[in-house]
Structures are given as C-alpha cells and as structure tokens.
Amino acid sequence: MNPAFSVIFFTTASGAGYGLLFLTAIANALGFIPSSGWFAVMTLGPATALIVSGLLASTFHLGHPERAWRALSQWRSSWLSREGIAAVLTFVPLAIFGVAWAFFGRTQGWYAIAGLAAAAGAVVTVFTTAMIYRSLRTIRRWHNRWVVPNYLAHALSTGAVLLHAAAQAWGEPQAVVAVVAFAAVAFAAYVKDRYWKFIDTTKSGSTPETATGLGARGKVRLLDPPHATENYLQQEMGYKLARKHSEKLRTMVRWFAFGFPAAFTATAPVFAGSLLGAALSLLAVIFAIGGTLIERWLFFAEAKHAVTLYYGAREA
C-alpha cells in the first residue's frame, strides 16, 4: 500500500496524544503525578496538540476535506465513521478534565472521573483507528489479530515516554511513571515482533489462481496488463518495497522506537531531578515518535493488496 504521509503522521501523532491522555488521566486518579495546574499544561497540553494536529492531518489526503463532517454519519457500518465519532466525543470529557485541572486546580471527584472517561475515549478512538485496517480482508498483513494490539501498544508506549518526560521535567517523578514507560515500550516491541513474525510466516488464501478462477489449468501468469502505464490501482495498492530496505527499516524501528527509548527511560531516573534526567527522558520521546513514524511507514509499505494479483503479483 502506498504510504500517505498525512495518515502516517495522523496515526503516530494522535496515537501518542491519546496514549498520553490515557496515562495522565489514570495517573491523576491514582495520585501518581503532581496535581498542579501547570502539570496539566505540560501533559494535557501536548496531548491535545498531538490529537488535534493528527486529526487535522488526516483530512489532508481527502479529495474533499470540506466534506469531512459527513464522515460522522455511518457509524452503523464503518470503522472510519466510528473513529471520527469517538474522536469528537472524547473531546468533551477531555475539555472538562483539562479546564478544571489547568485553570481551577480541581483534579478529584467528578473531574477525575471525567479524566477517566476521556481515557476510555482515547482507548476507543485508537481501537477504532486500528479496526479500519484490521477489518480489510483484502490486505492480509492488516487483516490479522496483531494489528489492534500493535496500534494500542504504540499509542501506550509513545504516550508513556511523553508522560515520563513531563514528570522528569517537573522534577520529582515517582518511580512508577518510569517503570510504566519502560514496560509499555517493551510491550510494544514484543507486539511488533509478533506482528512481523505473523506476516512473515502466513500466506494469503488468495492467489492469481483464485483471482482468475483459472487454477484448474495450473499456474496463472499475467501475460499482458490492461494498459501500458500504471493506473490508480497500481499506484495506490501496488506500492513496491525492496526486501532489503524492509529489513533495514525494521532494524531502525527496533532501535529507534524501542531500543533507545527503553535505554533512555531506564537511565533517566538515575539522574532524576537534574537537567540530565529531563534530557534523557526527552530523548526517549524523540526516538519513540521518530521510530513510530518509520514503523507506520513500514506498516503501509509492507502491506500487499489482493488486487495486485491481477497485475502480476504471485501472492498478496
């Protein structure tokens, strides 16, 4: 699949924003983070900025961005529509939680519950994003059980290193924040590894033989494509990625999205309260988000669409 940059940026940025929102609301309810209104600005501020910029970016690849509001209408059947609704609804408790905390210093009782409602909305929104891909039978590398955990785990890991960085910058982070960030990164690494194992070891049930129904005669080969030049289907669905680049990029994801963030997250608490601690936790954020951008690019580039079977692909 052709990786559209707006979609890569959207899922990475809003995933990190929703992950940060989710963990901030829970840590607030459990009393693991400072209750100062300024800490709300340092956590819910970037979370909202990431979510909003991501959602805006997601409209850039539309043919008619001005009609985007129509996407809220088909929640009965469409995961994309459900995602839009979940994203819009999540802003309501997020606004209550954020305003009460940032401007009035109220973090407990109903405001904590509003935060937890926003956290639930964050999970639902990331889940619906993942289901857009998960539900497409046409793409085996998306239509499998590892896609939803993959999206949730990446949102959690990038959100967790962001919360850790905010807590380090504040000065007196509780150890549990670092432990959660480390564990979330490790979990995301595990899920991604399982995802890659899955796509490397399973085959699609569709072949050129089932696509043409001519399998009874033996192997089916494309002799002549319909047109001399590439069409929309080949450009959008037939994106080709050399195998060697795929391996290099996977290695980059392993280090950038998981290895470096885990190492920086583990060492930052040693220098807690100092500038070095804050700098290390910020480095973890930069690598985690950069690594996740590459991960998302690969998620698209490695995905093969069934329609390519009509254009000479042996498998999809």
Binding site: M1, H61, L62, G63, H64, P65, R67, A68, R70, A71, L72, S73, Q74, R76, S77, S78, W79, L80, S81, G84, I132, S135, L136, R137, T138, I139, G205, S206, P208, T210, A211, T212, G213, L214, G215, A216, R217, G218, K219, V220, R221, L222, L223, D224, P225, P226, H227, A228, T229, E230, N231, Y232, L233, E236, M237, H305, A306, V307, Y310, Y311
Partner: protein
Amino acid sequence: MTSLPAPVAGAKKLGLVIDLDTCVGCHACAVNCKEWNTGGHSAPLPDFDPYGANVSGVWFNRIHTFEAGEGPDSRTVHFPKSCLHCETPACVTVCPTGASYKRAEDGIVLVNADTCIGCKLCSWACPYGAREFDADEGVMKKCTLCIDRIYNENLDEADRVPACVSTCPASARHFGDLGDPNSDVSKLVEERGGYALMPEMEYAPVNRYLPPRPAKTAPGCTGASAALERPTAAGDGTHPLLRWMDRLLSR
C-alpha cells in the same frame, strides 16, 4: 446509508456474465465503456497526460490477459474485469459518509459524487480493483452497470444493456438478472459452470465468469475430417494422357 439492504429471497441481482472462452481480448468493451461513461452518470472519466508518455486515467473496465497452465494444455485467456456488484460489498460498508451504496431494487453498487469525501477507503476494501479515484474531481468512481442505459427509455429496447455488452463483437458478455434462476444469464451460468472470482473474500460477487471450454485436440472433433485423404496414384477415371504422364514421372 452504507449499511447493506436486507437480503430478500428472489430479489433482482443485475450483473454480467463474461465468457472467457469466446473473449478475444479486443478491448472494445473497455473503449465503449469509457466512451459512454465519460458522458454518463459519473461523467467525466478523466485522462491525465493523455498524449504524453505517462498516460493514466479512470476506466471502469480493464482487460487483463493471462496464461494458465503449462505446455500443450495451457491457454491464453483474455480477462475483462469491472465491478462485480457484490452481494456483501465491503466497499459499501467501509464508507464513512454514505456516499457508497447498494441499491435494494436491483443490487447495483453506486457512488454519490456529491457526498463522497475522497478518502479512498472503498478502493482499499475492493479486492477486484473496481474503484478508481478521480484525482480531478476528488471523488471515487466505479462501474454503474450503465444505469443510465439499462433503464433509459429514450433508447431502443435492444440497446438497454451496458455499453460493454452492446459492443462486444464476440458476444462474450451477457447482461441480466442473476437473482432469477430462470433468466437466460442464470441458465448460461448453470450450463457452463460459471463461477465467482475470489470466493474466499466472501464478498459474494454477482457477476459470473464462464471458464474456457476444454481444448479440442482429438482428430475429427471439430467436425472437419481428421485428415485430408492422401493423394494416390492416378486412378482409372483419369484422362489417359495424365495416366501416361503419371507413369512417366513415377519412374
């Protein structure tokens, strides 16, 4: 509404039956499709760089050519492909705006260009490549089964078939109601063992493909004599001069 209409027993399912045995791969159906539809329901069908080296454009019907099998039993098969108007099309259900819909009355899958946001998700959901994005208009386009021909009372009744069907010089394309087991197309499918493409996707396509008939290789099976009679020595009925020449030349 992108939810699918409730299935009704005996409902009309308009579609195409494509005969892979007789298709000669002339692309006339694709050309006539483009010709009609660039002025029809989804008009225009854009062409980009039409006279340049990298020409591309929106087509509702494309003809692939495959080779199947090896050696003397292999066949070259011309393979026209357009929207199969599936019974459970995910291209419709994934649509977030309701622009994609399946008509309850005849099963035709259409796009409302006025509400399409151009997110392209429907084209991702289609395994058959039936949907093509119009980058000029920013909306998705697809085969309409020539909805503006088949119900068009301004046309002669014989012409109320999809453009691809009307133009096929080999009569390899047939149009009709595949929901009616007694229709001509249903009988044809029954008789020739018509099949659906990629049934494992579970989209339940309406269109059917008729497989190429087995190659005729046994001597005499086409109706012509198995071999020409071997020329023999000139018989008794031949002119005496020719018999003399035959003897002379046979020495």
